[in-house]
């Protein structure tokens, strides 16, 4: 897949996802309006839509189609957005900007921001349940709900955030840093791919291979994120570069330096592609997405 094809692929899938998100979020004038406005403000703020596109790519890699998994794709974006809203709160990372705009609590106040996050997490599970109507085997829903709950909960994203917060301002080991990255970021990216593959009826070995690729891809994504935070500009990132260092967050470049971090991301993406090789040409878009994760500038 050439870079031109990938751009078209991403644009097409992003449009599908954006249209679906517009549909699944209650309108701004639906009561209680404040929380619906806050939900839409954060979800429809743009963003790469990486996780929902990975749900679609995971489905496609086992022969499924985007339309079969769109509700679940939206669910992944809602879970991601809820985690950003809560992470940005004063009691957590205390960030004023996200994706180049004021964070939710700066616009709507802390109470509504907390509730908007809660509501997005809740709506995500509703969407996954609705997605079950589109798939052949109703038992798949059980696996998908469990997959998402594990990836979002204390053995996934919440766990990573807890350790991240507890590590701020401390010297941490490479093992702890990997724990944070694997749980805070890679768990949900892995789940996005597995959920797509499961809903599309993927056989267990294919789902496993796609999930393992997702773990590596998620770790590579976070390492690149850390590098961009050191090197990127405000214009490219939509947030202030160097913010990790200011907040005394441990990062890959801080522990290992930029060159070694870049090599590690490259090694991981190479392994993603090895893992996907067995799936044949249907996984080509997913391999191209892995390159994109490595080369992205924001």
């Amino acid at each position: 897949m050439s870079s031109v094809d990938l751009a078209a692929y991403l644009k097409d899938r992003r449009t599908l996802v954006d249209e679906a998100l517009e549909r699944v979020l209650p309108a701004e004038d639906v009561l209680p309006a404040t929380v619906h406005r806050a939900m839409r403000y954060s979800v429809l703020a743009g963003g790469k839509r990486l996780r929902p596109i990975l749900v679609i790519a995971g489905a496609e890699a086992v022969g499924g189609a985007a339309r079969e998994v769109l509700p679940a794709a939206c669910a992944l974006e809602l879970i991601h957005t809820y985690s950003l809203i809560h992470d940005d709160l004063p009691a957590m990372d205390d960030d004023d900007y996200r994706r180049g705009r004021l964070t939710s609590h700066k616009v709507f106040g802390e109470a509504v921001a907390i509730l908007a996050g809660d509501a997005l997490l809740t709506l995500a599970f509703k969407l996954v349940a609705e997605n079950a109507a589109l798939v052949r085997d109703p038992r798949v829903l059980r696996d998908v709900v469990a997959e998402l709950a594990d990836a979002a909960g204390t053995f996934g994203m919440v766990g990573g955030q807890v350790v991240d917060i507890e590590s701020e301002g401390k010297t941490i080991t490479p093992a702890t840093l990997e724990y944070i990255h694997l749980h805070k970021t890679a768990a949900l990216i892995r789940a996005a791919l597995r959920v797509g593959a499961l809903l599309a009826g993927g056989a267990p070995p294919a789902v496993e291979a796609i999930g393992d690729a997702g773990r590596d891809l998620g770790l590579a994504f976070q390492i690149v994120d850390d590098i961009l935070d050191v090197e990127g500009s405000l214009e490219e990132l939509g947030k202030t570069a160097g913010s990790d260092a200011r907040k005394q967050k441990a990062t890959y470049p801080a522990l290992h330096g930029v060159p070694a971090s870049r090599r590690e991301a490259q090694r991981l993406v190479a392994r993603v592609k090895e893992r996907l090789a067995a799936l044949g040409p249907r996984a080509t878009p997913l391999g191209a997405l892995a390159d994109y994760v490595l080369e992205r500038k924001n």
Copy 2:
């Protein structure tokens, strides 16, 4: 059912629920330990276990058994507890005590309290998915997840909390107060009963009747709560009486007076029992529970 029988019924179901909650919550030494400690602190703080017992009673009312619905019963208690933890936060109701103990953020800090709430909501959906393994028809899971998500989200509990927060210190109409009570309290109580009935394979008319009874019961429960807040003692409530008035929260007694509020709760509970009559003797415990809601002192 006599009051002696009801006491035994409640004790038996509460023991089942407490044992199940102990099992489904990760142990205190499982990493990341802080958040698991915070989850256990709030969930295992006692409490009436009304919502999980209603899941069981809803199942029993259509011929099901407690053991078939225990994971979902736990899920309802986790959702209830998550909502208490977040409602107590400084940005929301700013409460220092709950069930006679310091609130989560007073013990673990705001960040961990927010994350513990998030994790409990997430774990609730995982438990519901696991419960699907115990029931005959796997398609039921779809309805149950949607039911819970609706009851917990912006058209249920979160919606009620948003309007409650926005109404503080303002003069509100009886219609707004009913909106808050129906959404913040009755939605989840209704869902508890419907989830139990759905998982136990209840026929649609029975599930409807049980759900309508749940709505009335939930509203009665909240009216009694408001009356207890005016009249109860610290010892009975585990929190300071009169706290609603101090926080300028609108309540039934404040708008309608205590005698009219008590009559309304009695009228609602009488209607609960009418709705349950069609279900026959299997719904007797549920009717007795409705009396308990009316007569409780805490």
